[in-house]
């Protein structure tokens, strides 16, 4: 990718205060760049910090969370001032399709009104022009514009999901965060939604971050992917590179654990489970499940290092230092 990134995340950390007074280090320093029109997949097991990292970008974490790091939106830092600096960009520049976006609509208000609500709030359109814009957005995601006066329960699950995407596009954002946008949908609707997301990034130059634990889906949609493990990015690179030449044992094992209807290879599971993050792990957090560990993995945490342009990995293997 050429040109300046639309959003850059630098060393993002998130801690949650626990009820017993402890802390849970849910996101442990992640960094990545995203360029206009680019589609980045964020993949990993449940609890690896994918959603937390994305909610941190939106400034939507609960009060028990504390965040550190830099988020640059087109070169300007938006995180440092907390709510004051994030809220003008929320939905206007960075919008989100939530996990379970089918429930993103208030059941007692008309769909169109809820889409227009964001525009009116950010002053991008009001009254009649907002109605026209809502109709346009719904058409864009394949829903007849006059349906904006319907209530959410009069839409099917797939339609609601598409309407949620239309709502996310209301203020022409530059970055769209999609958290598992296709779970709970059947494969046909799933394909429609993914196609829609791809065409939006192509036609509108929207940058997309797609969160999922579904590797084939990433391969289908994204240019690049970041594999997350225990709150860190284990490896980031183009989808092709990650598949053809994984540099992190976790990436390799994750691909091996994905069933392939054409292959006759046995599906391998990764034994063990991710570490608990209420205590800082010593050494490499993947060490107990790794099949290629070195002596220093027990004591020294690997650093996140760039191995090729656009390609970084957190692993001692191949690290001369």
């Amino acid at each position: 990718m050429s040109g300046a990134p639309v959003i850059s995340v630098e060393d993002l950390h998130v801690w949650f205060d626990l009820a017993d007074g402890g802390e849970l280090h849910a996101v442990r320093g992640i960094s990545f760049d995203l360029h206009p029109g680019e589609r980045l997949g964020l993949v990993g097991e449940s609890g690896c910090g994918k959603t937390t990292a994305i909610l941190a970008l939106m400034g939507l974490l609960p009060a028990s969370a504390s965040v550190r790091g830099r988020v640059l939106l087109e070169g300007s830092e938006i995180m440092a001032g907390g709510e004051d600096t994030i809220s003008p960009h929320r939905w206007k520049d960075v919008a989100m399709v939530f996990q379970g976006a089918m429930n993103a609509f208030n059941p007692v208000q008309r769909v169109g009104k809820q889409i227009a609500e964001a525009m009116e709030l950010h002053g991008t359109a009001t009254g009649r022009s907002a109605r026209l814009r809502v109709a346009e957005l719904l058409e864009l995601v394949g829903i007849a514009g006059e349906r904006q006066d319907r209530f959410p329960h009069e839409f099917s699950g797939g339609m609601r999901q598409r309407a949620a995407i239309a709502m996310a596009l209301a203020c022409d954002p530059k970055v769209l965060l999609a958290d598992e946008p296709t779970t709970a949908l059947d494969v046909m609707v799933q394909a429609q939604i993914l196609e829609l997301l791809v065409s939006l990034t192509r036609d509108l130059g929207l940058a997309l971050i797609l969160i999922t634990h579904d590797l084939p889906l990433i391969a289908q949609v994204c240019d690049r992917a970041a594999v997350m493990y225990a709150g860190e990015i284990a490896e980031i690179g183009t989808v092709h590179d990650l598949y053809a030449d994984p540099r992190h044992p976790y990436t390799r094992l994750l691909f091996a654990a994905t069933p392939d209807i054409y292959g006759d290879d046995l599906v391998v599971s990764i034994p063990g489970s991710p570490p608990r993050l209420d205590h800082e792990p010593v050494g490499c957090p993947f060490r107990p499940r790794c099949d290629a560990f070195l002596e220093r993995c027990d004591t020294v945490a690997p650093r996140f290092r760039t191995v090729a342009p656009g390609r970084s990995v957190t692993c001692h293997n191949g690290d001369p230092a």
């Binding site: 929320r90 939530f98 429930n103 993103a104 709502m167």
Partner: protein, 323 residues
């Protein structure tokens, strides 16, 4: 909407019919009657039989039922067995006293209960929430009669409000009191029973509003609303309370339905001559016609307010009609 409303109204009418019938059956099924409650030297068996005959209690049940239905249809609820005055007038007197008192208490509890519940849910886990919740729970679980006694013993003296009766018996003894001072006196007599009722219901309301609000505030569309950039006040108001209203409306309808029923214990402790007081007296005297009249009225009002709530639901939640 038309079909939904027709269905609801139909159901309400059927319920009313069933209630009317049950009201009749229930009183015939009870052991003893007004005559068996009489205690006097002259009460020989023959005298009792004559009394029963006069009151129509010796006729076949079916005939009695027919007469009962005819009476209700023409608005005639019979006469009190004790005073022989028409039941309708006696009940009307009691209603006039009960409704303002109970309405005052109910409105108090609805207003403060909703405010407390919303704030409590909004500021969940904070000191304000804990205090509000503990207070609500205390009032909710307190026996009404005990709270009433506490108020009589400790509050009434401190604030100088009357603790019994409907009005000061001496206020207009010379016939020169102004309407205003009579009204003020009436109101003062109403305050403490209203407060008792209001506090008990307040606990109910604030707990239910809080849990309904917490449920809606945890919904995905509330998170989406935050992401869209809505202020937290707007979220609580437009997306939270609006959705939490359904259970709240149900509760309001239920308690308004019982407005007419009065509150037995409260009226008794404050010697407030309302429907509750009249009920207790009528039970004491086995004055069936009065009891029947009161029960019928309470049933009608509960069914009526529930019907109103049912007809309101589609306005509050568009999903109600289609499901």
């Amino acid at each position: 909407m038309g079909r939904y409303a027709a269905k609801r109204i139909g159901f309400a009418l059927i319920t009313v019919l069933v209630a009317i019938t049950l009201n009749f059956v229930l009183f015939r099924a009870l052991p003893g009657d007004a005559v068996s409650a009489l205690r006097c030297k002259a009460c020989t068996a023959a005298f009792r039989a004559a009394q029963r005959h006069d009151l129509g209690l010796d006729r076949p049940l079916v005939t009695q039922y027919g007469l009962y239905l005819k009476g209700i249809a023409s608005g005639d609820l019979g006469s009190s067995l004790r005073t022989e005055a028409p039941v309708r007038g006696a009940i009307w007197e009691a209603i006039k006293n009960t409704v303002p008192m109970v309405t005052l208490g109910t409105v108090f509890s609805i207003v403060f209960g909703i405010i407390a519940g919303v704030i409590s849910a909004w500021r969940r886990g904070t000191f304000v929430d804990k205090i509000t919740q503990q207070t609500a729970l205390a009032f909710y679980s307190m026996p009404t009669q005990w709270l009433a006694l506490l108020i009589v013993l400790f509050v009434a003296g401190a604030v100088g409000l009357p603790t019994s009766g409907l009005a000061d018996p001496s206020i207009d003894i010379l016939g020169d009191a102004s309407t205003w001072s009579i009204l003020v006196d009436r109101f003062q007599h109403m305050v403490l029973p209203s407060l008792t009722l209001g506090l008990v219901l307040y606990g109910d309301y604030s707990l239910i509003v809080r849990s309904a609000m917490l449920e809606t505030l945890g919904e995905d569309y509330v998170l989406t609303a935050r992401a869209k950039g809505l202020s937290s006040w707007r979220i609580v108001w437009r997306h939270g309370l609006r959705n939490a209203l359904l259970p709240i409306v149900t509760l309001v309808a239920l308690s308004l339905g019982f407005v007419i029923g009065g509150t037995y214990t409260i009226e008794f402790i404050f010697s407030y001559p309302g429907i509750g007081y009249a009920t207790v007296e009528a039970i004491d005297q086995r004055d069936y016609p009065i009891l029947q009249g009161i029960f019928l009225l309470v049933t009608f009002s509960v069914i009526g307010f529930n019907l109103i709530a049912d007809l309101l639901y589609p306005k509050l939640d568009p999903r109600v009609v289609s499901s």
